[in-house]
Symmetry: C2
Subunit: 288 residues, 2 copies
């Protein structure tokens, strides 16, 4: 109950920030950007940034700025991943995907503009931190989302639909595609509070892996209405997943182990680690 209140509080704070940033911006580029940015989502990444920063007693406004920039990058990646030339998905978070509503050309440009705006929003923010800290945040964010991180993971992912990949390659793929941004989320929270960027590395690494395993399980066990996107798509696309490699029970066991690892890495925080612990349990059981 306490967790749910804190969760909603973070969620509302993040959504309010994004609205404050974009509500007064008009024109067709912004319309397409806002459609996907406002489409809901759990805001897990900025929430991790804020919660890591709060656990260390850091400045909430800084974490909110860094985390929201990360959410813009996450959102752009979903818009581009859904394009006909990529995963060709027509449904995302229970709504028609960006290119279905605005056309392919606008979906490409809205994605570009969000990636671009993430940088603008950090460099232009009026925050009580040093320029060095902003540079550090941009370094974490853009190395996580670039060719060595998320984009590299998406390239591997597309190849994984054409040919089956090994268990080791699957780990690398998800480390890049999903894990990089979740690690960045935690690093940004640490940097926002003036601490070492790797302080939450064990937590976020296990959480990122658990997140992906849960996704693979939901693709098999959920339904489209609950999941908010088409289910059974991995099997249809012949994708190598944690379920296809280890079976549904094996995947569930891995998920449990990674969740425990994430939680036990938080011991150094004492009581301040409560929300992050509960968040790991929440993600373990999430339905969408």
């Amino acid at each position: 109950m306490e967790f749910q209140i804190a969760f909603n509080d973070y969620l509302n704070t993040i959504n309010a920030y994004l609205h404050r940033m974009f509500d007064d911006k008009t024109g067709s580029t912004y319309d397409a950007m806002k459609y996907s940015l406002y489409a809901g989502g759990k805001r897990i990444r900025p929430m991790i940034t804020m919660a890591c920063c709060d656990a260390l007693g850091g400045d909430k406004e800084v974490a909110l700025c860094f985390g929201s920039a990360l959410e813009m990058i996450h959102t752009y990646s979903l818009i581009h991943d859904d394009l006909p030339c990529m995963d060709n998905d027509e449904l995302r978070r229970g709504k028609p995907t960006n290119h279905i509503v605005f056309g392919e050309h606008m979906a490409v440009l809205a994605g570009d503009a969000l990636l671009n705006y993430a940088c603008e929003s950090i460099v232009g923010a009026d925050l009580k931190i040093s320029p060095e800290a902003k540079i550090k945040a941009l370094e974490i964010l853009y190395s996580a989302s670039g060719a060595e991180g998320m984009i590299g993971g998406q390239v591997m992912d597309i190849r994984a639909e054409e040919e089956s990949i090994s268990a080791d390659e699957l780990v690398i793929l998800h480390n890049k595609k999903t894990g990089a941004l979740i690690n960045a989320a935690a690093s940004l929270g640490a940097v926002a509070s003036g601490k070492d960027k790797d302080l939450f590395y064990n937590y976020s690494s296990s959480l990122g892996l658990a997140f992906q395993i849960r996704d693979d399980i939901l693709d098999v066990e959920s339904d489209t209405e609950t999941f908010g996107k088409p289910v059974k798509s991995d099997e249809k696309n012949n994708k190598t997943t944690y379920v296809s490699l280890y079976g549904i029970d094996g995947a569930k066991e891995m998920l449990r182990i990674e969740t425990e690892k994430a939680i036990s890495s938080l011991e150094f925080l004492g009581d301040c680690g409560k929300f992050l612990t509960d968040l790991a349990y929440y993600l373990l059981e999430r339905k969408n």
Copy 2:
């Protein structure tokens, strides 16, 4: 002759920097990025950055870093503009466009990765400047390339193919689509040498407009082999251009006037403005 030597010197310096940055990077994302980044081009934007910095006696390494990041953004915009869902071009700088060689999905991702890398290359660079100056450079660069700048211009450009636009709208379109990055190039050169970012504003504004008018003229008067991309495409796509609005002679007169305006704005530099003056004349007469 002296100009041509200096021009080639800048060109070689910029190309060498880009190769130093990417040659040792392997994998399919980088292959697609490098294909377009190494495809030649006149490197006008980074050249403006370097020449503005040199005219003020600034640090060449800083200008090279800033200008090359700008060139990455320019290159990503060409890759995305050429996509089938945008201008659907198959030829660029005399070579097959990125999506023709690597497929649409890779062209989208390679473009994304270049936009992303432009930020990485500045934040990660070991330069003799303050973190404030890096933040300033990122602010100039990403506001020029974002929804209010280049991307906004591309959105207008796509609409201009569907409906004819007025002379005023055409100026706004090009101010965003072409002008924003050329203004940014000059601003980055000023900032690289520790001076006010608007020092070259009149020069780069006139140069950007002249550049676009010349492009419209070449589309009518050149041939595909010389121009490096299909000619007569504006007429085919029913595009509003400076030639369609003012006729070929009217466009040539405008081009001459803007070139003169650019040059006369350089008086404050004395002899140090020689290369930038010659560059304006070079662009006036360019064949591709």
